[in-house]
């Protein structure tokens, strides 16, 4: 009897699996990641990263040839259906040639109102489910990491449980559909800055890389991966503001057998934590500071993680400190962790730096102070022009990344004053004092991760101007106008939260008292700003 209690659903579909697999098996995968969910959704930070991660695992240790795995990033619904159709065609060909086939469909992104949201396009869940159910592959596995994705599993056979049950002694190869979702039909699916991905996909990936291999045979079955991802996802999100997130599964299968998703030993590549290493929770951190896999080690048990070649930091958390060390995984070789090379480190030196990426894109405020020259595109007032150019000073408050990475808003207030002379034929030359007050709102996009931050945007300003004629009793004149314009600028991160920058704003201004004239002005500004409130 397997550790997983045998009752129902059975699959047997791994090429290297026991001899009950009578025919060769071909695996196909369509992996989709889309950060943009279109109208009414907030842009995700890691959906594409999740897709890249799972695509890499499926092709490296999941038995899916690279040529038979499509990775679609920020692609529309039509592209996804086209890719799915191509994989269906290949699965049909494989079947005709006597092979068994497995079709994996993975999606990370938004889902809303019963449909996957792929930018401005939609893919209804029910239609996709029917499509997968009727796809010409022996086994179809759908994995959906999206908000309320449990909607796709609730119609038939849906379960919200730590694990589904598998009959291990089955003899018949299975056929049918299995669906996994990251959350229930009424739950949000959450991302983590620390993990650099969604909770569900992160734990699923960690499971597939070996941590879910409870049997120790080097293979991670679907049941093992799901149980692992379920437990970790629920635990990690239990205290989150959005509430706990419960992955679900459903199946519609005939036949029996277990489905092995990855074989950690397939490439004989990765990290080996020897039996003599201390027990505990190990975190494997990539050079970007993101946790790529986790490993739970019991006392006296050897564990493997199928890491791709590369350089990693290994972190083990103790009650009062961290143990951290570097390991290098080389192509086609197993690296054994040497505990003696780990060093004690303070919690403040935690190598997990996921937030580094997200600080740049985190929502935060800034306050800017600066001065500018407003150059009005009009004749000089000595030649009968209406508005003079003037120096101005002011302040701006901005909320960065308010509408997704790079997209923010700003509110600015400016005041300027200058004396000048106005000449007209009948009046001669008059000296005036000119004052200008401006308040404006800017919708901007900026590329924040770098030292040099370029900014572009649109601004709508309200400008109020006055002029008094000195030494006369002529009435004071005023003019108020809305001025739409474009903004371009650059700022430099000079010290911690401080930025210095320059900006140019080109505005349209309508004049319509004496005559209708289309005027404009250019604001050239320099400012010093301080950012605060960011994560």
């Amino acid at each position: 009897m397997s550790p997983l209690r045998a009752i129902g659903v059975l699959l047997a579909l791994w090429a290297a699996a026991p001899a009950r697999a009578e025919a060769p098996i071909r695996r196909f995968a369509v992996v989709v990641g889309h950060d943009d969910g279109g109208e009414g959704t907030r842009e995700l930070s890691f959906a594409r990263d999740d897709a890249r991660k799972l695509h890499e695992i499926f092709t490296r240790v999941g038995g899916v040839p690279a040529d038979d795995a499509f990775l679609l990033l920020n692609a529309g619904a039509d592209d996804v259906l086209t890719a799915l159709g191509e994989m269906e065609r290949r699965a049909r060909d494989a079947t005709l040639k006597g092979s068994r086939s497995v079709l994996i469909f993975y999606y990370s992104g938004h889902a809303k109102d019963g449909a996957l949201r792929l930018g401005s396009s939609k893919l209804p869940l029910e239609a996709l489910k029917r499509r997968l159910a009727t796809a010409p592959a022996d086994v179809k596995l759908g994995i959906f990491d999206a908000c309320r994705s449990g909607a796709i599993t609730r119609t038939k056979g849906a379960r919200r449980a730590p694990a589904f049950e598998i009959e291990s002694d089955a003899t018949r190869a299975a056929k049918g559909l299995v669906l996994l979702t990251s959350s229930a039909a009424n739950e949000e699916s959450q991302e983590s800055d620390q993990l650099g991905g969604s909770y569900f996909s992160h734990h699923l990936a960690s499971a597939l890389l070996g941590d879910a291999d409870k049997s120790g045979d080097g293979r991670v079955s679907l049941a093992e991966a799901y149980a692992y991802a379920y437990d970790r996802t629920v635990a990690d999100t239990a205290e989150s503001a959005a509430g706990p997130q419960h992955p679900t599964f459903s199946f519609d299968l005939a036949g029996n057998g277990d489905l092995v998703l990855t074989d950690v030993m397939l490439r004989k590549e990765g990290l080996l934590v020897p039996a003599g290493a201390p027990a505990g929770q190990y975190f494997l951190v990539d050079p970007r500071g993101f946790v790529v896999a986790e490993l739970t080690k019991a006392e006296g048990v050897e564990r493997r993680v199928a890491l791709a070649q590369g350089r990693y930091l290994v972190k083990r958390r103790l009650p009062d400190k961290l143990r951290v060390g570097e390991v290098v995984v080389r192509d086609g070789s197993i690296t054994t962790l040497d505990e003696s090379r780990l060093k004690d480190t303070k919690f403040s030196d935690d190598p997990v730096k996921g937030p580094v990426k997200n600080t740049a894109w985190a929502r935060r405020f800034s306050l800017s102070l600066g001065g500018e020259w407003q150059q009005v595109f009009d004749r000089p007032t000595q030649l009968g022009g209406y508005f003079p150019s003037a120096p101005m000073f002011g302040a701006e408050v901005a909320l960065h990344n308010a509408f997704g990475p790079g997209f923010g808003v700003g509110l600015d207030v400016l005041y300027g004053q200058i004396n000048g002379f106005l000449s007209t034929d009948a009046v001669g030359t008059l000296e005036y004092r000119y004052g200008v007050f401006s308040v404006g709102g800017t919708f901007m996009w900026e590329y924040a991760p770098s030292f040099v931050v370029p900014v572009v945007g649109v601004r709508v300003g309200f400008q109020s101007m006055t002029r008094e004629f000195l030494g006369t009793d002529l009435p004071k004149q005023t003019y108020m106008v809305l001025t739409p314009g474009l903004v371009v600028g650059v700022r430099f991160r000079i010290f911690k939260g401080f930025n210095a920058g320059v900006k140019a704003r080109l505005h349209y201004m309508l004049y319509n008292v004496d005559e209708v004239r289309n005027l404009g002005f250019l604001d050239l500004s320099a400012m010093l700003s301080y950012e605060f409130g960011g994560g």
Partner: protein, 320 residues
Amino acid sequence: MKRLAPICLTLLAGCTGNWSNADLEFVSALPVKGELQSKIPTRSTTNPLNGEGTRKDPLGLGEPSQSYLEAKKASTDFNALLDGLLSIVEAVRTLPPTTREKDSRTWGPFNDDKNPGYEVQLVIVRGEDQVPDGGSQPGKTFTWKIEFREKQGPGAWFTLADGAFLATGGIRKGQGVARLLIAENVSKLKSLQVFGPLALIETGYITDRDPLTVGMRFTFGANDAGYSELGYGYQEKADKAGRMAFGLRTTDANITLLNVAAGWLPSGAGAATATVQEGNYQGATAVECWDDSFKTVYAFQNWPGGVNLGNQASCVALPF
């Protein structure tokens, strides 16, 4: 579509205000009482002439100058009349025009509190350029009028005051005329009753050269004194030296109408010459000079019983 475009742009741009170079030109065509009123020097800190214009004592050297006091009183009276002529103009000057056309501006109609049941408007029209008298460069011309009408109906507009101005460059520099039509409107507008027997006030002014020149003519209706017309002239140099000429009605049978010409230096010292136009002493003259503290330094009257005090050499030389 051509009309719609600017309207749409206006709505889109949401602009409003009175920012206008042309408005300045129209407003500058209106006479300003502060510029046209006579300004006789006064020195309130050292002035010994408290109760000026009330002294009835005989002339005496070192006493406050009677002629200066008469000139000062005449200045105050004529300035008050000018104020009556221009008060409405002054009221609208500080307001933006209600209506702007290419060659005209209109302020109003406004309700007139002083004349219940009536409303008033000021219209300024820009005309063809003209070359001013004594000038070579053409200047812009403006005509203006203040009109009233009964609110009920409403009635037809009728003119209370009108004028014209030829701008020759500079703020309110040019040549202008204005008049107040009292007699034909006093039955409708109660506010005109303060002008008493006056039927018409006319003024002409030249402000684009030195000296500034203002002339006024007052036409009377029927009155007990039996006079029909009086004149007043005033000139002011840039350095504030000035002179004025006016007719003075008195109740003295010997001098019922005295023509006075007075002049002064910026320091205040001045002289006045008076000629009896009507009365028993018709044709007689008098001269009086005062120093910069407005005290008589020389007085001469050639009518019977007249005085001859001081030395004529004590009189200052007037610039014009």
